[in-house]
Symmetry: C2
Subunit: 322 residues, 2 copies
């Protein structure tokens, strides 16, 4: 079987072989033993992709907008990767978002790579996997990566936090903006799109959005609100222009470098916490932990004191053990 | 000034002094130096409160239902504490939920204690504080604790996960059930309430909810769906009966003990992760961490390898240092 070594896989992916790329991503998702090497090698080559996050309520028109953006990016000759993440879909495994796009005109276009991620079990898992997979796509050489996700809550907010520019899609009507606000989407949007703008209420929604955005306080960037009818392509040029304007703003103000450093620091801290926890649990052993939880359950000790004592003893044992 | 020592505060709270209780909770929220002692002492006395979670979209009628449940619990002579958590409200500091209830008939009733928590800054903070505050209310001797929160996403799901019985409130209409599903509320509800059942569409909503619940697979408990008109008190007896039925089911099946142990274990693990992280960062020092993030930013090392190496070096230093 081809590509058995990480190096073969990476050479394949860099040479444009999509099956090699797909296999790398699967290994990252599965925590394959070669995942660290794959991540390390491609991270070193990365840092050049511009990452666009696209989020909004189910049915807002995200996939149609993504589809149109792909067409636009391809028209300029650039390659693009799409990561469609659907954490709230245990039934479809998140396949719907990606399939919708795939079914459009890009199936035979080698310059477009589309990958779906759904929640196979744990929600934290998919949020944790997203930055790793984005890093792979970046390292594989795509100048643009679009991360599309259903915007219904904190988990999704975390997913689009991997983007340089976040586009929030709503539809005409008051409820949608309020919902977007409640879900924390107003704070993270760099561009707002009111899709299905051929329906009534666009002006009201635009006013409501602008008012809610003003409540958010001082910003160095005023997020534009763009009306669109994605099915007919109306407003797509304006959305793309808004993304490019935001990119220019981030680059000229130096905010892009600051934000990327901040994201890498967050990712490092998350990985550090994982590593500390894994080590602590392995070092103490399953039995010691169970005994401690027994004591907590019997209310002989509270969970917070137990945790402090446990970590302190671990540190001491480490010291004595060598 | 009265109650300067933790022991004084605890004696006051156990004696029914609500100002002493309020001050204890503030100390827990603020991470006061006496917080560990307060938590430890009251945890030891706890384990007797039955905790009811109440969640649903904004405007679904949660506060009115809570208000009616308070009246019902008080009529039987029991005391009750309400913790109103509004993580998505930076403007009000979460005060609205609690105020709504307070403004009803319970203001002068010493058998009712109502406390609001809002997000002052960090979202993770409020989710982390909830189990601690619930533990305080439990230890203070309330036989019932109601945790009320706006159900819009993962953070809120985490908050109601502290409950023995979770009540999910929706209104007639398809969109609401779908939203509840998307927000992950269907999986956590032990009782569903269709409030404002004097509006059209109740039967449709009931059918939709039951169908979606059936998709959820095998359960030992079939969550009832109760229609109500909370403003007039209609359906409140049935909601309370559903909560009592669920409690009986949990107690007779042994699931209550299992679930409570599981929650304590989760809380212990969360506290352990906090403690490990704090120690690691303190031990390495701010400078070492910054230098490492610099390297990651320059792509000399990827964040995942950096984290593994950092933790490994920390463990070695610990060993050598003594």
């Amino acid at each position: 079987m081809a590509w058995t070594t990480p190096q073969d896989l990476i050479e394949g992916a860099l040479g444009g072989d999509r099956r090699a790329l797909a296999r790398i991503i699967t290994r990252i998702e599965d925590g394959h033993q070669t995942a660290p090497e794959l991540l390390a090698t491609l991270f070193e080559r990365g840092g050049h992709a511009y990452v666009i996050g696209l989020t909004g309520a189910p049915g807002a028109g995200k996939s149609t907008i993504t589809d149109q953006l792909i067409t636009l990016i391809r028209a300029s000759g650039d390659e693009v990767a799409v990561l469609a993440v659907d954490p709230s879909s245990p039934f479809t495994g998140g396949a719907i978002l990606g399939d919708r796009i795939r079914m459009q005109d890009h199936a035979g276009d080698a310059g477009v790579y589309i990958r779906s991620m759904g929640s196979r079990g744990h929600l934290g898992g998919i949020a944790a996997a997203t930055p790793r997979v984005v890093s792979i796509l970046d390292g594989a050489g795509f100048p643009f990566v679009i991360v599309e996700t259903v915007g219904v809550g904190q988990a999704e907010v975390e997913i689009v936090e991997n983007a340089d520019t976040t586009v929030v899609v709503v539809n005409p009507g008051w409820g949608d903006s309020v919902q977007a606000n409640k879900a924390g989407l107003l704070e993270i949007g760099d561009t707002f799109v009111i899709n299905k703008a051929d329906r009534p209420g666009v002006n009201d929604t635009m006013r409501d959005l602008r008012q809610m955005l003003e409540l958010g306080g001082d910003r160095t960037w005023e997020p534009p609100v763009v009306p669109s009818v994605a099915t007919s392509g109306e407003g797509i040029d304006e959305i793309w222009q808004a993304i490019k304007d935001h990119r220019k703003h981030l680059e000229s103000s130096g905010e892009l470098a600051v934000a990327r450093r901040h994201r890498l620091e967050l990712e490092f801290r998350r990985a550090m916490i994982d590593e500390l926890t894994t080590r602590a649990e392995a070092s103490a052993g399953r039995q010691a932990l169970t005994a401690l939880v027994d004591q907590v359950t019997l209310r002989e000790i509270d969970p917070w004191t137990a945790a402090r004592r446990f970590v302190a003893e671990l540190a001491e044992e480490n010291t004595r053990g060598h």
